[in-house]
């Protein structure tokens, strides 16, 4: 059974999803990720789907779950590298994932995480 690797990149965790995920692999990923967010005190999660050719409602749900769970653990999630064909298909499918942050690649994703962290900390500090 393959496992999805979770890499630590500074204060963030990088998850690179390969093609054709098995249900059990997806479950394991969500478990492991939430644990690592806490244990590493991660400030953000980068979900790299640049190798994913097909995102159906199952994967879409998984992405949504990861984003929600991370948020609860005070880590923002950014989905990076979505392929144009996948984006068009998701929108047609009705799964536009409006509440999820996205970026073109890992670099852009990290920039986004950094700036969003700043604004949220400022917002909290000024209360």
């Amino acid at each position: 059974m393959e496992r999805i690797p979770i890499l630590k990149m500074g204060p963030y965790l990088l998850v690179t999803i390969q093609v054709d995920m098995h249900d059990r692999v997806a479950m394991m990923l969500q478990d492991e990720l939430t644990e690592r967010i806490v244990s590493e005190r991660a400030q953000g999660v980068l979900l790299d789907i640049s190798s994913v050719e097909v995102v159906d409602s199952f994967i879409g749900r998984m992405i949504g779950n990861i984003a929600s769970m991370s948020r609860l653990l005070d880590a923002e999630t950014v989905v990076v590298g979505m392929r144009p064909a996948v984006a068009i298909t998701l929108v047609e499918l009705g799964l536009a994932l409006p509440t999820i942050k996205t970026a073109l690649n890992v670099d852009a994703g990290m920039t986004l995480l950094k700036s969003s962290r700043k604004t949220s900390t400022n917002a909290r500090a000024s209360r």
Binding site: V54, S57, F58, P84, A85, T89, E92, L93
Partner: protein, 134 residues
């Protein structure tokens, strides 16, 4: 209608679903569908294959490469002998949900293909047929 290729694949496990996706993708490439159309078809097939497995208790997928004289396409049929869908109209409504969150994906899949047919009888099973033309 001339059928260039005709394959029957069992859908009894997640591995089968994954294999089925790849076969649909190969067929779409073989028929010369654009990348976006390939993705749409494979995504719809993925939804329906999962349905067959999870809601239908397992079943079969039939994959055909069509050649209608002037145009080429891919037809995929999903058959199961599961509990069936009691109210198809309701199931086809956007946002309809049974256990499992984002619903049966039927309405979404319909938008991804050119032709969509569904037949279901409670207690007998369900058959869904989709076609994507080049």
């Amino acid at each position: 209608m001339p059928v260039l290729r005709d394959e029957l694949i069992g859908l009894r496990s997640m591995d089968d679903v994954i294999k089925a996706r790849q076969l649909v993708r190969d067929c779409a490439i073989f028929q010369g569908l654009s990348l976006v159309d390939q993705t749409k078809l494979v995504t719809a097939a993925s939804e329906l294959a999962r349905n067959t497995l999870i809601h239908g208790g397992g079943g079969e997928m039939r994959l055909q490469a069509l050649n209608d004289g002037s145009r080429r396409g891919v037809k995929v049929m999903f058959v199961d002998t599961g509990p069936g869908i009691p109210d198809i109209e309701l199931a086809m409504k956007d946002g309809y949900t049974t256990r499992g969150g984002l619903g049966l994906g039927l309405s979404g899949s319909k938008r991804l293909v050119n032709e969509f047919e569904i037949q279901s009888q409670p207690g007998k099973g369900t058959t869904v047929s989709i076609v994507r033309w080049k």
